[in-house]
């Protein structure tokens, strides 16, 4: 069977499964629509959380990001997993005990203020919309690359599928679909990784392959990678980092941001008990780690594989003739992710770092006229993996289905966070408190459909901020939502003034720092600095790393404002007391 038919078959089968789940898991009440009736087993919720969390970026782009950054790429690995420790220890069990449906709802109730709730709604929507555009884009791109349909058709197909299970089933439909999507994506990710690890290091476990020996030469894999890429003028793979301060703050911002992302937090509202929320966070991280500990191996090995494909005998010998490149090179050239330009017309691919002085000398001696692999997209590292390893067509088809599963599962979680904040917080909570449950459920479905339409529109016409997911979404979540939630639980003294001003100050400094480098509202040329590069960053701290500072500002402002104003009323202090103990979590559900 040819690859295209096989891909249609595998992707079609997974879609049929998701649609089946949509009809089986319909939501009959707001409790089911927002929180899956709080009946999800902690292990199942862990799996759903893993799919909810791991996006198109985690699946397609992260390994490539690490491949190019080497050691420093660890900021994504630690940042996007360490946040679960904060979530488990500081937020999830207490928010589950609180027993409501949304993140703004907790902030509004705890800080007895619709203003606080409103600020939280705005943050939630900006974070989730930024994030969901990337997923929609990922769906369109996966379709166009693997199934050779145009991006718009792919996008509409993806929207249609999400529409079915998210509008019909709400959180209930999304949860069961996410469990299925996790199984698809983790299989698709690990199978090629196991084969590549076997080929290079002789061990099937990529985690061990990364620290193992490069089989053909019997030297450590890391040493082989360093030799190979440093010969071409690239920096050492496991070399020291530019700025330890920036890497620390970057990692911390991702961790705090992860713990403050509403679409992840609401997953913990679906388990029956407080103790289940604790277990469930652990299981979520186990399932996430299955991909996150494989990704650095995939990145390192793919970097070596691609480089040695072009330089089969090292830099001392000639590189590969363009006419002799393997089929995968040609396949991915067609998609524009790889591009070869024969600058010196010798028919060979001189791929090296032409910005390195040592290489300039060598290039002069050997008649090279610059790096000829002019485009080398990081996404290749995962997408072309099965072909590089020479795996059968069904594995390539599975990678297509896995990329789609990763994008769809995250999109659905984000869309639920957006629609519930509109129907439950904005409509029922602030604008029309007297609507019945039936009306609210209808409103929830309509806002879900609306959110899908908006996400689809932006997916087709991505605005400037869509590419800034890391800076914007994680910066906002870290500087506003996480501190507000944490203080709401761990302090009885923080009052509404403190919380509101703290959030506004946190968001304010974070956005100011991001906009100063990336342009006001991401419009090119309106920033305070000519470029977002290390020589302009204050103390070398990048805009993506600033969320942690924003969080600190939030904490400090909230503390001093609260101390200068009256403490929260007695019933709020009692509320804090009650969410700190697990007993009575069942009763809190029946509100």
């Amino acid at each position: 069977m040819d690859l295209k038919t096989m891909t249609y078959l595998v992707v079609g089968a997974t879609f049929a499964l998701y649609i089946g789940i949509a009809f089986w898991a319909r939501a009959g009440s707001t409790g089911e629509f927002y929180a899956a009736g709080r009946g999800i087993h902690p292990v199942a919720n862990g799996m759903a959380t893993a799919a909810d969390w791991m996006s198109a970026a985690s699946f397609i782009s992260m390994a490539g990001l690490i491949a190019f950054q080497g050691y420093e790429g660890a900021k994504f690995l630690m940042g996007w997993t360490g946040g679960y420790v904060l979530l488990a220890l500081l937020l999830a069990p207490y928010l589950r005990k609180f027993g409501k449906f949304t993140v703004p709802e907790f902030i509004g109730d705890r800080f007895y203020s619709n203003m606080a709730r409103f600020v939280a709604i705005i943050c939630l929507i900006v974070i989730s919309v930024t994030y969901v555009i990337g997923q929609m884009r990922g769906v369109g791109v996966a379709f166009s690359r693997f199934l050779e349909v145009d991006v718009a058709t792919g996008l509409f197909t993806g929207m249609g599928i999400v529409f079915l299970y998210a509008v019909l089933g709400g959180m209930k439909g999304i949860t069961y679909t996410q469990i299925a999507q996790y199984c698809v994506l983790i299989t698709a990710y690990t199978i090629p990784a196991i084969f590549i690890s076997m080929n290079l290091t002789g061990t099937p476990l990529p985690q061990l392959g990364l620290i193992g020996n490069y089989q053909p030469e019997g030297i450590p894999l890391m040493q082989k990678i360093n030799q190979t890429i440093m010969d071409l003028g690239f920096k050492q793979y496991d070399g020291p980092v530019r700025s330890q301060l920036d890497m620390t703050l970057y990692t911390l911002s991702l961790m705090i941001g992860t713990a403050g992302l509403p679409h992840v937090i609401i997953r913990f509202f679906t388990v029956p008990k407080v103790s289940d929320a604790r277990w469930s966070a652990g299981w979520a991280l186990v399932f996430i780690a299955l991909l996150y500990t494989v990704a650095p191996a995939v990145g390192a090995m793919a970097r070596l594989n691609v480089t040695t494909t072009i330089w089969p005998n090292g830099v001392q010998e000639a590189p590969i003739e363009y006419a002799a490149v393997p089929q995968w090179f040609k396949t991915w050239e067609k998609t524009g992710l790889l591009k070869f330009e024969d600058k010196n017309n010798d028919g060979k691919i001189q791929f090296y770092n032409d910005k390195s002085d040592a290489m300039t000398t060598l290039a002069g001696e050997r008649g090279w006229e610059g790096n000829e692999l002019v485009k080398f997209d990081r996404d290749i590292m995962v997408l072309a993996n099965p072909e590089i390893a020479g795996l059968p067509n069904w594995v390539i088809a599975l990678v297509a289905a896995g990329g789609l599963a990763a994008a769809l599962s995250t999109a659905a979680g984000l869309l639920l966070a957006i629609s519930s904040s509109i129907s439950h917080d904005l409509l029922k909570g602030i604008l029309m408190p007297n609507i019945t449950e039936g009306t609210e459920l209808l409103a929830a479905r309509i806002s879900m459909a609306g959110a899908i339409a908006v996400a689809g529109y932006f997916g087709l016409n991505p605005p400037g901020f869509a590419a800034q997911v890391v800076a914007l979404a994680f910066g906002l979540a870290a500087s506003s939502i996480f501190p507000a939630l944490m203080m709401g639980i761990f302090s009885k003294r923080i009052n509404s003034h403190g919380a509101i001003l703290g959030m506004i100050a946190g968001i304010g400094v974070t956005l100011a720092y991001i906009f100063a480098y990336k342009g006001m509202f991401f419009i090119k040329g309106t920033g305070l600095f000519p470029a977002s590069t290390p020589e302009y960053w204050i103390m070398g701290v990048s805009p993506e790393a600033f969320g942690a500072i924003g969080a600190l500002v939030n904490f400090v402002v909230a503390y001093f404002v609260s101390m200068a104003t009256a403490p929260p009323p007695k019933e709020i202090q009692d509320l804090v007391e009650s969410i700190r103990v697990p007993r009575g979590a069942g009763a809190a559900t029946e509100h």
């Binding site: 660890a74 997993t81 420790v85 488990a88 040493q223 330890q244 652990g282 103990v581």
Partner: protein
């Protein structure tokens, strides 16, 4: 929960969380980033310890921390009679 037992439960919780978060910070920011130059000679297979902690080890420790927290907190819930049963 305005009684001694309630205060002790919360204090025990804070102690546990503090200890676990110190470990959390030490393995990631400590061994993975700031102390990496100091750990340079120590190898885990073919990579140095700091590199391994940053790209592998810290994630395993994070998992252990959450499960330790779940076990210990569920124990505290029973000990102070605030569990959900």
């Amino acid at each position: 929960m305005e009684n001694d037992s309630g205060k002790n439960y919360w204090a025990a919780n804070i102690r546990l969380v503090t200890v676990l978060l110190c470990i959390w910070a030490f393995v990631s920011y400590g061994m993975g980033i700031l102390l990496r130059p100091a750990l340079e000679g120590i190898k885990v297979g073919g990579v140095d310890l700091g590199f391994w902690m940053a790209q592998q080890g810290s994630i395993y420790v994070f998992i252990i921390l959450i499960f330790v927290y779940a076990v210990m907190m569920n124990g505290l819930d029973r000990q102070y009679n605030v569990d959900e049963e």
